[in-house]
Symmetry: D2
């Protein structure tokens, strides 16, 4: 458990809890009941599952332990909506979230209200430091699932031949404010990275520690669709020289020719967005590329991706916040990494192999959720998140 | 096209149309919106798809051709809900019916009402013999999908760990009226089989023709759960001697130990039904067995399955109608089989390989839908239908 | 057991045994040691396995039972080279015959000589009728494996980018003697089919029985490469209308565009043969087509495939013996089919589902091995045998 | 290209070339021709392929460029035995090395002699610094393949139910000399790691650079079979708490219960070795564990794996050289990593994702091949190499 050195009044914590819980409900406002159900791939979860799972988190880790009079809403929900329960049977469930039509959506919303009321009751009392931390963790956990909910939905909608519109006016595909392609230089030497203990952070951001940095430069603006399209048009996907070996195998096994959601019709390029099918906006940042594509593009440009620490040290000079950015760092434990006690301890440590760190945040991220030390991570072949590319160079 | 030698008044045909269309809606009455969505396996379709596809059939084959003023409800529906359209893209769709959340269920019901109204308008006029036949075909087609809709739903529900109840009081698992195990003898010689032209039949039932039959006997009652459980308990699934080679491979690849939907808890056997999880009723007919299991059970008993023609000739002496019954006959064309002109011609002919004929009907079959010449067919490994076993013997 | 009504002297039987055993060895004469090893697909066996398995057949069914002093060559050979032993462990073996480098080829030839000597010793004595039958069965079994050995080898060689030559001068791709496309008519009515008991036959050819035949005609000559190429060139493989549903799925899943072993280079068509890569000879019979391709071609021609019984009744008027010919008949038991006692009883009965009957014989068949009642059978997607197409038509 | 700061006489280089080439031939001395052929998994290559590929390396990178009169042995060998040629067609080949029966083993040995003679002729002349480096690279490359050849062979033999003996007296399973479980402490601070330029190294070991190390300790002896068996016996493979998420999925998908090649018979544990099936020697180092197993074992012990740099700094105090040791470091580029020009540049860079670094060497490694800066790497699920576990701890 992280003991926060900060003072947060119960009131402020409860306010944030209520706001974040309502944000999730608001995200689902444009959905039809049918949209809550499908799971088109194992890495995607149905909206209904996200709604229930985030509630289960508060129930399992806070209410059951700290609210003596709390009545579990339905014991079977723990089995149905617990992402980490790892028996053999439950694993099968992980791929079959899309067939769980009952409990209904209405029933899951009831569950949310039941949990909300109980948390509100709990917050009327004095909260231990641990409970405060767990509440903060639950709030941040829910924000993570907000991002997943909306990107999972995008994936599901993208497979529907009629390309449903989630909502207009989102503006996620707008051009970059700045495409000057300037580079910022990072001073070599020993620097501190990682999260201090005075604000909330996830376990994988801690502890703060020193790292050695070599001289390098990072581009201040993200790679655009225009730049990436050039890579596509010069047959970048047909030339193995640019690709990591695993990336080349992935590309061939999946017949990948361009970023996810791109469509070519005649000579024009289109892209599926949550506002429907749109013409590709050339000055918008490229999105939905795998780590393999990011690394191949950088290789073709004669550059490389930044490491997570280079990014963290340069970030105040970068225009970030539009897309999650692949780094060259694999997701591993910081020196003296401590796993939390109990089931909460499963949070990030079990994912410390085969995944790459992403820095920044995206148009889908809740405001205030990310920070410079934040470490997101995905397997290198995945690209249903709003992932993008930032370039770096060694300076010799 | 089959020209019926029968006289049916427009009024009677329209009445039947309206009744059958309402029957489908009634079947869905206990469903929640969520239940209409999932497709848990490629051989299963979501209820929403069945509702739309049966309507599309009337639209595509009758209304568009015969109703000059008919306005197509939505052109994209033909693409989304047409089971036979065989482009590469559309095949992908076949496995992804469960992600098509839009159009919504409400929208599909609107489609049904639109089609119903148009058919009613059409029936106010004089109908050509061809249109009458196509209407009859559409009615029978919808009855087939009623059976699929309910068995598909059962399959989906069976995967939900909370075992949802569709509806109580169905009584599909009731004991057989007769378990006397009597045998009826079929006279050897030349007999007529197949459908005459004076009542409706599917193309694969025609033409009526002569077959040579050898002396044999058929058991009047179906195999019961009690009998089949004995086969399970003597390790019938562990003894390759009883199994066809493909069946043995299927059994091992899928770790099959008993009929579908059976569950062992301690020493008791339970079965998932549309009324929820129930104790196995020993005198009820065994259900949800594959052809491989039916053939292995018969082999173990020292018997065989009847051929489709033996069944057809004996059927007036059999207690049938509870379960679809596997026969030893592969689904192939009768001599001088004629494919209908146009897209309707795809009806059954394309399935004449790798599938076995089933005779009879089941508790899920619409009343009056089946007849002695009826030929249902499935791949031998499938068992999500109400399939069962009837025994036969050669008499030398 | 089939009791032959014929008199065969021990001497004649032994002579045939010795000749057939030598034929197998001769077939392998052009092979390098390396060629004996690989198993490139589960339906293919390495030459070494064929050599050992055919010897094991004589050891297991004849020598162990009838030769009291017989010393088993090596008990582990029964496990390694027994195609039917059906434990879970052994099934894994079935796909991994290509990794069994020991026992060596030399050791397997020793095994053959050991078995040969023991059979010769046995034949010096009086043989029971059963032993005579089993010897005859073993001889026919070995002839079947001769055909498999050479077609399996062809499959393995075909995957080698340097297209090895097995042997020149085979002449399997020679033009048909007759391409007049004449048709022979079959008289409708009741006819006897199936094997009589006075000569050897396999269990699936028996018993002789009556069938009803409808009026039809069969083409005397096989379909040629010229005819089949026309089907390819008019985009027959892109038009789902000609294809069975399972065939269309097979074609798409496997990206099939032409018969196996065909290669297009520029505008010329080549074909891999055991004599190396050759230009396609247009008047030679088409080879290496699946049942799906045969049925689609026939559909495109407005014809159909003959049934196994139509073929059997017409065969004296057909030019047959060059290619195995797909029929429209699924491989099922004849009326009153009797399975032999014991392990020999597994011979054909377990394959009576999902497979189609082929009639005739091929350039790879041992002389005298086939006969009009012979029933070969394969799954409809397989095409590594010398399979071809003969056309038939109903006459109304 | 690495320019070595060392002076090596042509004579010494040629001597080493000849010795290493002969070592490979000696390794194959106990093989039968059949053993050279199979490829039982995509990560395994047949001995014949290793023999040819190592020769092709000298031909392609040295002889063709530097020996004007060199006559290529057979142009098709470049296609057949080039591991990196990355066209679509060639990828298929990568999984089908086991079906390439021709060229024969004898022909491949001819190829080796042809290449050897040409290299000897070349070495009679003055060699450029680049040619010297490439020769050194070819020698080291061949040593890598010696290790693969023998571990690949072990994998193939292990699948043979008769457990072939490669050779007796190898002694790879002997107990550790030291099982005192002492720990050596590493001083925190900035240290140099990576290869200097005065001796040969692979590209991924360079350049030498500084890293920051935290206080920690490393155990001087490897984990033994005794220790690992305890983990097995306390149901370590049934408890998800110890496992990385990808490891848990791997374990379940592959039904893994113990290290590769372990077999339980009754209550005894056996292990397949190149000397045949043997009783597990408890004080020998555990072998053939995946990274997932190594990490789970360490987690269970309350320890962790060392990073590659901790290992490199501690290595003079460790008893190493028996097994390759998994580290916690993913295989990534060192700062300012330079890829060599041309095809040689593909050497290691393309494998810098999804793989973990191993340090040390194993009983199968050629003497003198490894060094403290050496970085071997494999995907975390692979375990056919002689991989083992060394423990480390943070010191706070």
């Amino acid at each position: 458990m992280q003991v926060l050195n900060q003072k947060t009044s119960h009131k402020a914590l409860l306010d944030r809890f209520q706001k974040i819980r309502q944000d999730t409900v608001n995200l689902c406002e444009p959905l039809e009941i049918e949209d809550y159900v499908p799971q088109p791939a194992s890495f995607v979860s149905p909206p209904k599952w996200h709604l229930a799972h985030t509630s289960w988190f508060f129930e399992a880790f806070i209410l059951k332990a700290n609210s003596p009079n709390y009545k579990v809403f339905d014991p079977v929900f723990g089995f149905l909506f617990n992402s980490y329960y790892q028996s053999l049977g439950a694993r099968a469930i992980r791929d079959q979230r899309g067939i769980i039509t009952r409990p209904t959506v209405a029933h899951v919303y009831e569950y949310r209200r039941h949990v909300d009321a109980a948390v509100e009751t709990l917050c009327a009392q004095s909260l231990s430091q641990e409970t405060q931390f767990l509440l903060e963790l639950g709030i941040n956990h829910e924000q993570q699932h907000q991002e997943l909910l909306i990107t999972d939905l995008k994936y599901t909608f993208s497979l529907n031949p009629i390309f449903p519109v989630y909502k207009t006016g989102l503006g996620w595909e707008r051009p970059l404010d700045n495409t000057d392609n300037e580079w910022v230089r990072i001073q070599a030497g020993t620097h501190y990275v990682g999260a201090q203990t005075n604000i909330f952070s996830f376990d994988n951001e801690r502890p703060q520690h020193e790292v050695l940095i070599n001289p390098c430069e990072i581009r201040t603006s993200l790679v655009t669709n225009r730049e990436y399209l050039e890579f596509v048009l010069v047959d970048g996907y047909q030339n193995f020289r640019y690709w990591l070996d695993d990336g080349w195998a992935w590309l061939q096994d999946n017949e990948v020719h361009c970023p996810a959601y791109w469509l070519k019709q005649g000579d024009s390029w289109w892209v599926y967005t949550l506002e429907g099918l749109q013409k590709l906006i050339l000055d918008a940042p490229v999105s939905h590329v795998s780590y393999y594509e990011a690394a191949a593009f950088a290789q073709w440009k004669g550059c490389r991706l930044p490491s997570e620490f280079e990014w963290e040290l340069a970030c105040c000079d970068l225009f970030w916040g539009r897309r999650w950015e692949w780094t060259s760092s694999s997701h591993q434990a910081y020196p003296n990494y401590q796993v939390s006690e109990g089931a909460v301890g499963e949070y990030n440590g079990k994912f410390m192999v085969n995944q790459m760190v992403l820095k920044g945040s995206s148009d889908a991220t809740a405001v205030g959720h990310s920070r410079p030390t934040y470490r997101n991570f995905f397997h290198p072949h995945l690209r249903w998140q709003l992932t993008s590319i930032r370039l770096a160079n060694d300076i010799s």
